[in-house]
Symmetry: C2
């Protein structure tokens, strides 16, 4: 290898750690998403992602130390913004959340990606840690639905926001993991009502 070529490699290596290149990041996430959609989890590997994205495996491992972290980023990027809305009532927000998440899981490959992440987390400690961190972040986000309700006096002041968020997440997880994504608006409306009525001030 010439000295120049060696320097180039060194520069590339240094740049890996320094910051994420947005184009490369997007190419890797696109590749991961396409492989999941076209081939499923059985053929999903960092090697396959690297090949499809024309990226180096070390780059991928640097940014996503395990494939669960990469899949969670694919999953999160796919999520529509409309899942979290301020409709003015907690029941309305919960209904919008349930409708948005189940539509997203049912219409895209996102449900499959998330099922796999949950499954991996039961066997692998790094995956479990990634899922716990992701869930904690999501709990804060969906907890805002209930916090807004407390703040405007709609919900009782002693409502435990974290428990509410866990109940919401639990309901959708259990449905996803037993293959029973709910799309019927009447069922989702009743779920939102039953979940929220007892929290009212």
């Amino acid at each position: 290898m010439s000295e120049q070529a060696a320097d180039d490699v060194d520069d590339r290596r240094r740049s890996i750690g320094a910051r994420r290149n947005p184009d490369t990041e997007r190419a890797i996430l696109d590749a991961a998403e396409a492989i999941m959609a076209e081939e499923g989890i059985a053929r999903f590997s960092i090697e396959a992602v690297a090949k499809r994205a024309r990226a180096g495996k070390p780059t991928i491992y640097k940014w996503w130390p395990d494939k669960t972290k990469l899949l969670l980023d694919v999953y999160h990027r796919q999520k529509p913004a409309s899942v979290h809305m301020d409709t003015g009532t907690v029941e309305g927000d919960v209904f919008a959340f349930l409708t948005g998440v189940f539509a997203h899981w049912g219409d895209t490959g996102a449900g499959q990606v998330f099922r796999f992440v949950v499954a991996e987390a039961q066997r692998d400690e790094a995956a479990a840690e990634s899922l716990r961190a992701y869930s904690a972040e999501r709990r804060l986000q969906s907890g805002q639905i209930f916090q807004r309700g407390i703040d405007r006096g709609e919900l009782a002041a002693d409502v435990n926001v974290g428990l509410c968020a866990d109940m919401l997440a639990g309901f959708i997880w259990q449905r996803l993991l037993t293959g029973r994504i709910e799309r019927d608006p009447a069922q989702l409306r009743q779920t939102a009502r039953q979940m929220v009525r007892g929290l009212l001030a």
Copy 2:
């Protein structure tokens, strides 16, 4: 092989399909439970169970066509009766259920067994079918908590019992699958209260 020995083998084979021998069934379930407790899922196989139980693999496959079914029977056998109690109020029943299930999952290997069953069901169609059937049966059972509440006029008549059971299951599943089994009675009491208050008549 003598004619007598061949007849013995035939008799054994016929008896496999005819009915389960309770001693053999118990030995197989004991062996499966011990392997899960001592070695975990990584070393769990029908072969290992057969060896430990001194049973034939065909017998095990005849009674449990996939290892998820066998694990669900191990799991179910471990479950204490006290999980379903009629305390006189829905909140009391839900509190008893949550306390009993989390204690059971935390104190025995049952939580690990169930985590594995859920994970398997995300990858394998036979496992998914076993989990769906098991969940449907459990939904009927825990739905009785809410049905009793309707029958005695404690809960509103339009409460959807199946949705209540799904919310209850969802909450405990999500906690188990993210490694957050809840043992604090105050938290469990608040969970039961938040879940039930909105269902009251």
